[in-house]
């Protein structure tokens, strides 16, 4: 199905972006150590960057991990069930999860907007950066997760109708 391909493609793209984020995360913290001991001047930004980038790579990576079946489940019971039965179960679960994820996405959108309008800042360091860019990455992460759940739902419906894995 073309929708599945499209959704998986978008998710894969953002997963790759999230993977690249590991590089600035590493760099920021190593530079902090270097700056503190060699230049005798701790940075104002490394700490803030570290949790912001960690959060972004986590959030943007969730959907791709779902696509790759990386999220762990316990298969002790389901191993003894037929493929179709498992697909039915998953369909029910995903039908419950999709509205929840869109709801959280909507709330995060609202949260991001508020932070943008109110110029919310971190308040953690003397750098004190604005927070809305960080919140935006969380919003995108949950939107992707919701969309990827739709893709997974469709894959399960295909199993139910055709009896084959997508």
């Amino acid at each position: 199905m073309r929708l599945i391909h499209f959704l998986d493609g978008v998710t894969r793209l953002f997963g790759a972006l999230a993977a690249l984020l590991i590089l600035p995360l590493t760099f920021a913290l190593v530079y902090e150590v270097f700056s503190r001991y060699v230049l005798n001047q701790p940075t104002l930004w490394a700490y803030e960057i570290s949790y912001m980038v960690m959060g972004a790579l986590f959030m943007l990576g969730m959907a791709n991990a779902l696509r790759l079946k990386q999220h762990v489940s316990v298969d002790i019971v389901t191993l003894h069930l037929s493929i179709a039965a498992v697909a039915y179960l998953r369909t029910v679960f995903y039908l419950a999860l999709i509205p929840l994820m869109f709801w959280l996405t909507w709330e995060l959108a609202h949260y991001t907007y508020e932070a943008f309008v109110r110029h919310e800042r971190s308040g953690r360091s003397a750098w004190n950066p604005v927070m809305w860019p960080v919140y935006t990455s969380w919003f995108i992460g949950f939107l992707l997760l919701a969309l990827q759940l739709i893709s997974e739902l469709l894959k399960n419906l295909l199993i139910i109708t055709t009896g084959k894995e997508h």
Partner: protein
């Protein structure tokens, strides 16, 4: 009957078990069953660092909170929370209840955050630093790798300290191994269980970076509007009573904890008066720069400065606390 949930940032310790619980007990008993408030530790009703959000959203109808957690929203919060060269605990009580502080506090919280707030506990003067380098003068302070946050991080940086930011849970190891030279946390009573005195030789005082402070109770606006005048008054009065309770209890506990530090293995170091003046000067510059661009900041600052002016004559006719024997 008002069955309310109270949110707090505290996961344990005296601010939860004594101060927040004390307020709850007062309200529950004094209202004769009109209120039934249940206290929840940090992180169970929304994020521990965003208690105001929990009250706005209605997850909690009431909170016991520290306004400093909203510093990222507006620097005015630092003045109301207690900041460097700020008010002492006793001055805070006088300013709040006689100097117009409570009215400003409530108006500010309502206008900017849409919650009804009033003081609920008072904080003692903090320990300036747990440090592995002795700090007496500005010279000693320059280049000190100091873990701190918020307004004091900005002012300490301007004074020449190398401020380091790290999670609260990393301070102990960082101090022990020398990643940082020094850290500040809270009053003697609050610092005792952190164990910082076990990994840092010097205990430096007085806590000029936080000479006193206030914890607040916030009430959700919709929940507040549903109350009768009498019930609203009861909450405010219970807050005032809790401020007094906490001042008594925290002062005594700090006294014991400080005695224990003196008797222990740490070396106690007192700040030089020249350093205290330097902090005052830098703080004033910081205050002035914010007052220029922030009307609420300017308003609260003006009120606090007028009060400080007024109380100048206090030492002229009052004996200093604790000095009556000497």
């Amino acid at each position: 009957e008002n069955n309310w949930r109270m949110a707090t940032p505290w996961s344990g310790g005296p601010w939860l078990e004594r101060d927040a619980q004390g307020f709850v007990d007062h309200v529950n008993t004094l209202s004769n069953g009109g209120f039934n408030i249940k206290l929840f530790p940090g992180g169970t009703l929304g994020s521990a660092l965003k208690v105001t959000d929990s009250v706005q959203s209605g997850v909690a109808q009431i909170s016991h909170n520290y306004i400093n957690y909203d510093y990222g929203m507006d620097p005015t919060t630092a003045l109301l929370a207690g900041h460097s060269s700020g008010l002492t605990p006793e001055e805070f009580m006088l300013w709040m209840y006689q100097g117009g502080g409570v009215e400003l506090y409530e108006q500010y919280r309502l206008e900017q955050f849409n919650v009804v707030a009033f003081p609920c506990s008072i904080l003692g003067t903090e320990i300036f630093l747990h440090s592995n380098k002795a700090v007496r003068t500005l010279e000693d302070f320059k280049g000190l790798r100091l873990r701190t946050s918020g307004a004091w991080a900005e002012i300490a940086s301007r004074l020449g300290a190398s401020t380091v930011v790290m999670a609260g849970s990393e301070i102990y190891s960082a101090l022990e191994r020398g990643v940082i030279d020094a850290a500040e946390w809270g009053s003697p009573e609050m610092n005792k269980p952190t164990g910082f005195q076990e990994v840092a030789k010097y205990v430096i005082f007085p806590g000029i970076h936080q000479s006193g402070g206030v914890l607040e109770c916030e009430v959700n606006k919709r929940a507040w509007d549903k109350l009768s005048d009498q019930e609203q008054n009861l909450l405010r009065q219970a807050g005032k009573l809790s401020v007094f309770d906490s001042w008594l209890a925290a002062s005594y506990a700090d006294l014991d904890a400080f005695e224990e530090l003196k008797a222990g293995n740490n070396e106690l170091v007192e700040l030089d008066p020249s350093f205290i003046s330097a902090v005052l000067k830098e703080t004033k510059a910081w205050e002035d720069s914010h007052a220029k661009e922030n009307t609420w900041f300017a308003k609260v600052l003006a009120s606090q400065r007028a009060f400080k002016e007024k109380i100048q004559s206090w030492p002229e006719y009052r004996l200093q606390i604790g000095k009556t024997e000497s």
